[in-house]
């Protein structure tokens, strides 16, 4: 069975071809942070970002549905309130009041 190419070899090869060392460093950093065995550090921005993204997408289907349900309820309620307020306002003022 063929063994996977070690990461250092991949990076070295890619670096030799592209010469974009900054990109390689970023890729390596993100990959290291996404590794299950990686220990999160309090002051590390990348640790915080990766953790936030993972938490967001870890929400289950039901929670997503509930969030969208809540958003729909808020938008519908806001629309109803806006229409009723407008209707009552112009009923009080007279329809052609254009002040």
């Amino acid at each position: 069975m063929r063994r996977p190419t070690p990461l250092r070899v991949v990076v070295a090869t890619h670096s030799a071809i592209s010469g974009k060392k900054t990109l390689i460093a970023c890729c390596l950093g993100i990959r290291r942070h996404l590794n299950r065995g990686h220990r999160a550090r309090a002051g590390c921005l990348l640790c915080l970002s990766v953790s936030g993204v993972q938490t967001l997408f870890a929400l289950d289907e039901l929670l997503w549905a509930r969030l969208i349900f809540a958003l729909g309820a808020v938008v519908t309620a806001a629309t109803v309130v806006m229409i009723l307020r407008g209707h009552m306002y112009w009923n009080r003022m007279g329809s052609m009041d254009v002040r």
């Binding site: 039901l62 969208i68 729909g72 629309t79 209707h87 254009v98």
Partner: protein, 476 residues
């Protein structure tokens, strides 16, 4: 039983029903169309003097579409109780438009189209954006009706898909062409009575054969998720229907033309009553979808639940009743769509944009030509058959929901900003389409309306205008 196998209705009976109702609609439409003064205003808006009964019936009949009879059961079948309830929430569109209708009638006593309002309130650029949205929505709507017609006749009577489509579009086009809005409203009245009475008959007969406790027990045993009010897909659909329907009603000229055609004293009441009456239809047809699920009826196409189920339960009589209900639903919606969209194109594009010097007779002729042109375009677009009507419909939801706040704010707020209205429609549509593709088609309208509302609120708050509402009244 599949839509492509043995038909439920003998082809002879199906053809007899088609001929009977086609002759009836065309004869009545032409006869009613001969009344009135015969000018463009009369042709497009039926003399602007429609009373409460006719107004309520035409609103209800136009809102009962092929989708209501084919999609509501599909929702019930796929997503259970929430699917059924959420489809019924679409009645909110008509009910919430009632106060707006009253305001429109007050501000624009001589207005003709929704395009008139957008152009006068927000300017020509906003009008272009609005017309693009309404064009995509109208074509999508026409396509779903045309495809529904083809699928129905094929499933019930074994007609070729294309033959059924041509028959239904042809009949609606003929009486709309010769009778104008009078023919549309008159036939809508009879069609709405037919739909309500026959649906009640189908529902009563169906539940006598398969009582609700049995349906409930079967669903509980085999599909408990469909009774779950926390079913994720059901939750996603819930508010989408309400916001989608608001977008459809608030922007589309079908409903604006009914406002202009009705008497001022009845316009608000008729929208409220029409919305409430309409809500009963998806509840009945949706519950038929649940019965089909409880009976484990095999279906090759989910959008055929209602006709397949009715024919299975009630035999040839049930198939004939459903045939008449859906035929009436399709023609009543298609005639309204053809008439009001033709009016929009004739008034806003031909008269206001291309030939402002056109005479009254030329305007009426243009409206007639538009009716024929729209029918041809609909046939061409609907020729290839799609698997699910829902996919076509939800796509347009992302667009129309973005018009809810610009339209409502434009009628009520002097401060509503025209640039904000354009940005709201564009941003809402883009985000709605992204949600359609990335999350689920069911929630496109929610995201579209949310973004549109935020943009409209912020824009009008930070850059308020001082619009003079009498500018709307001058239009005549």
């Amino acid at each position: 039983m599949s839509a492509d196998s043995v038909p439920f209705l003998q082809p002879g009976i199906a053809w007899a029903l088609v001929v009977l109702f086609s002759v009836l609609w065309v004869a009545l439409g032409i006869a009613w169309g001969r009344r009135g003064q015969g000018n463009a205003d009369d042709y497009m808006l039926a003399g602007r003097n429609i009373g409460l009964a006719l107004s309520t019936a035409t609103l209800m009949a136009s809102w009962v579409t092929g989708n209501t009879t084919l999609l509501a059961p599909e929702f019930g079948y796929k997503t259970g109780l929430w699917g059924m309830f959420s489809y019924a929430l679409a009645g909110l569109g008509l009910i919430l438009f009632a106060p707006l209708a009253s305001r429109i009638k007050q501000l624009m006593p001589n207005g003709r189209t929704s395009g008139d309002f957008i152009r006068l309130r927000y300017g020509r650029l906003a009008w272009w954006v609005f017309m693009l949205i309404t064009a995509i929505y109208t074509l999508g709507f026409l396509m779903t009706q045309a495809m529904g017609a083809g699928l129905l006749l094929q499933a019930l009577s074994g007609f070729d898909y294309h033959v059924g489509m041509v028959v239904v579009i042809g009949v609606a086009t003929v009486y709309t062409l010769f009778g104008g809005m009078r023919a549309v409203i008159g036939t809508d009245f009879i069609q709405s009575l037919l739909i309500m009475v026959l649906l009640a008959v189908v529902a009563v007969l169906a539940f006598r054969q398969f009582p609700m406790p049995e349906v409930h027990a079967s669903l509980l045993a085999r599909h408990p998720d469909r009774l779950d009010l926390l079913l994720p897909a059901g939750l996603l659909i819930a508010w989408n229907s309400a916001l989608f329907s608001m977008g459809e009603v608030f922007h589309n000229n079908i409903w604006w033309s009914r406002v202009f055609a009705s008497r001022r004293s009845v316009v608000m009441t008729s929208f409220v009553l029409g919305g409430i009456a309409w809500m009963s239809v998806p509840m009945v047809t949706g519950s038929i979808g649940l019965v089909a699920l409880a009976r484990e009826l095999p279906l090759e196409q989910v959008n055929m639940v209602f006709p397949v189920m009715a024919a299975d339960l009630l035999g040839a009589g049930g198939a004939a009743l459903v045939f008449v209900v859906v035929f009436a639903s399709l023609t009543s919606t298609l005639d309204s769509l053809l008439a009001s969209t033709a009016d929009l194109l004739a008034e806003d594009v031909y008269f206001r944009l291309l030939r402002p010097q056109a005479s009254d007779l030329q305007l009426k002729q243009a409206a007639r030509l538009m009716v024929v042109g729209l029918a041809v375009v609909t046939l061409a677009l609907s020729w290839p058959r799609l698997d699910s009507l829902a996919s076509v419909l939800f796509f347009t939801g992302a667009l129309v929901a973005s018009t809810v706040w610009p339209v409502a704010c434009g009628l009520y707020w002097r401060t509503a900003n025209r640039t904000a209205a354009i940005a709201a429609m564009l941003a809402g549509s883009v985000v709605g389409l992204l949600a359609y593709g990335l999350i689920a088609p069911y929630c496109a309208a929610v995201f579209s309306a949310a973004v549109s509302a935020i943009v409209m609120l912020m824009g009008s708050q930070f850059w308020p205008e001082r619009f003079d509402f009498t500018l709307l009244q001058e239009e005549g």
